[in-house]
Subunit: 350 residues, 3 copies
């Protein structure tokens, strides 16, 4: 990133309600409160870091309305409703400024089928392949070396980063962002065991990615055996995530890195799966449930619940188990002692 | 998928033994019994869903010979030996009909070394690279953007999907299907720690993929330090699986998504590893053993056994542990109570 | 690999201190002691395999100075300071002999921006893309189908294998080796939850890969939200590893396959993370700490310690827990028995 703003320019971008103090320095970096240097912008995101504002060397600090405190010399505190939102707004501005304009049209090295329908404002970058019957929406950008199979549809304003592979027949909505080397619509993993061999069950369904989804680098989303694998609107998927065939993921879910979801599982809206979670097939994780990192979900999870562990159990129980597990050596000793004592008592009995 | 069949056409494809009832509708979809609509085909795969046949709206239902029940109006029950096999047959038919014919020859944008030996019936798609000394067998298909390194051999009827990378010297058998962005023959992970630095141990062995193997999207199979990493005939590997150097995997194994196998492990024939299983190096998993999802295998596993957990133990023990773990809070309370009581008894003693 | 050496040639390559015995055979393979055949070279790497030297069929065996024993007929024992280092030296020789010379210059199918600065001795292979403002150092090799984004810098003697994707602004040091389909500089995974939707937090930082790093196939290293994600000098990363945004990894660390590190974690120098380890965000793993396979690190780890388990605890405790967990059924029975006995005693009381 390249940035260079006056504090007034930043106040405008983040829609600051008020400014306390002023700085003559240009803001050329962003940093946490403790590591910021003069010329940096910082922010108070969580109340527990409040004390760090007074000692920070940042030249501009985004603070919430309820922060009480005065700036140092040559420092400007900008009051905003939500510092994290304000910061996101600033970052978006920097990002859009540093991103080169998308050039509409087909790069001469792209291989685009004659009957593919590419919108006039779409950008098909170098060494992309777009197969027969595919449709690419307005302002969609295939950055470079992207493969789009037959009859795929890609909606408006999508961004496909280098090396993305989309198998035939997949449907991708609008404003979807797919990171480098992700694979959409690969075969589901299904075989019949016949005469000592695994015979492939053809996977003739499709993958549907709804609007505003983001999919991380290297992730793989299988297509359905028949019917559909669905990633619901607004769901965000991190890197190296595996989604099996016929999985239905609802809207606005969060799947962190290296999550794996087995075939035909249902993940309802607003579910959060932390990193490396594994989900067995054919179960349902209820709306808004949260699953902790590395947990193994092997049965239905109630809506709104928080679970963790292997197998996943309610979070409070899992925490208790985690502590008591470490006291197992002690518990065995205590039971040894009890047995010993009881033997003594029994021997001393009448 | 696109399908449109009469019930008679379907009866012929699935080799039905008998038909009960008839339908005038064209079959244009496939669905589970509960979600099927008129015009869909469905199937009775497991006895526990038997009751759903009577209430399904499917127009054609594949049923096993022992199913007792009559069709509704405008519904056809097709009796087949194994509904799942019959369904697979139908899907295969649909898949082959919808797949475009493979065009033999080199796409003009492919970069193929002058001394590579490409069979006349093979298809080298757009933007593929085939390096010096490589051999590509009859009817093999490199779909697009595939990289085949020096001296690689690829057998007859292989399918390499977009973005597959095959390092120099790898050997791939016949009818092998490798999904998008998988990597075959990458360096094993080996270093010697010398004078405070990790010095690379050159990985000069190869990777051998035997006949009828399938490898999922984004999976990585390292080549051997020296000697070979082997994936045995008929073994099926899901997405994002890691196979380390010098691993020997037998025939007809199943490795589900995100499995990781460390260097020099041996996996014998017919082993099944569920999703996210981890296997340490230099151990053996015996023929036909089954390892449950997320298990950590840290020592040899007996042939034919079923294990689970971290570390993996026999399945029945693991299930018992999983239940008892959740009763640890109770157990601690019981031991507390015992100690209390015993203190009372001892105090009341003679 | 192709090899064919006399024992004298091997003695020279491995800098042998002495030879016992001699062989007339050409050495054409490398194998472990037990599986070696005449014409193979083998080596005694660990004292526990000492007995295998006497029975091996290898024609040349690398032995440490303290090995006592005589060769068989037509066998040569070569005394070296460290057999594993000697073997690495031999392998490096074989590797470099079998590797084709790198051809400097741009392949005609590469797409290189006019203002990219590519060193004269660098090699840009077929179907690579190098964007505007990128710099490629002397003798660096982009093998094929590599994508290098805007303003990326790649140092001297780097090797980028096929399908590597480097996002705009990333900085890669010298002698870095990145394996096929790895992704450097992808977006960090950050959102603000606003009005029921996850709004993207732009990720405007960069990724810095220092000198002598190796990164495995399919691994993904996110760029920072702002500031930097850093992989320290000499660190080695295996396949399918995920490194989140703003993670700082020190020097000479080892990250085995499928490790996942959440955002803003700090991994100090010389840390070893075994396969499938998960690390939560915002914690520190101290210098030289070792984390066992599959462990879930959820809090700071002390420098020099060895931990394992979920959550990770000191190794000796984890081993004890692993054993005692398996004795839980027995423990419950013992407590049942104690309660029963105590009931009897209480009933028999005065």
């Amino acid at each position: 990133m390249q940035l260079s703003f006056t504090s007034d320019e930043i106040a405008a971008i983040v829609q600051a309600r008020a400014a306390r103090g002023a700085t003559t320095l240009m803001i050329e970096g962003i940093s946490a409160l403790r590591t910021a240097r003069p010329g940096d912008l910082s922010f108070l995101n969580q109340a527990k870091y409040k004390a760090d504002v007074a000692s920070t060397h940042a030249s501009v600090v985004l603070i919430p309305p309820n922060y009480v405190g005065e700036p140092k010399a040559n420092q400007c505190l900008l009051v905003v409703d939500q510092p994290s939102v304000a910061l996101a707004r600033l970052c978006a501005r920097i990002e859009s400024a540093s991103r080169p304009p998308v050039v509409a049209g087909l790069h001469p090295t792209a291989v685009v089928a004659a009957d593919a329908r590419v919108a006039a404002s779409a950008s098909i970058g170098p060494l992309c392949v777009v197969e027969s019957g595919a449709q690419i929406g307005e302002r969609a950008c295939l950055q470079a070396a992207v493969y789009v199979g037959r009859e795929v549809t890609i909606g408006e304003d999508c961004q496909l980063l280098p090396g993305v592979r989309v198998y035939a027949g997949s449907e991708i909505g609008r404003r979807v962002r797919i990171h480098a080397n992700a694979v959409i619509g690969s075969d589901g993993f299904g075989y019949e065991f016949i005469a000592g061999r695994h015979e492939k069950v053809p996977q003739i369904g499709k993958t549907v990615i709804e609007d505003d989804v983001e999919i991380g680098a290297g992730s793989t989303i299988d297509r359905a055996r028949f019917g559909r694998t669905v990633i619901g609107e607004g769901t965000k998927i991190d890197n190296l995530v595996q989604v099996g065939h016929n999985v239905i993921i609802g809207r606005h879910c969060i799947l962190c890195a290296q999550v794996g979801i087995s075939g035909s599982a249902t993940i309802e809206d607003y579910v959060v799966l932390a990193g490396q979670v594994g989900v067995v097939g054919h179960i349902t994780i209820g709306r808004g449930a949260k699953v902790g990192g590395g947990a193994a979900v092997s049965s239905d999870i109630e809506a709104g619940s928080s679970v963790n562990g292997s197998p996943a159990v309610p979070l409070m129980l899992e925490r208790r188990i985690a502590v008591l597990k470490q006291r197992l050596p002690e518990l065995f000793h205590r039971v040894d002692a009890l047995e010993e004592q009881l033997k003594g008592l029994a021997g001393a009995g009448p």
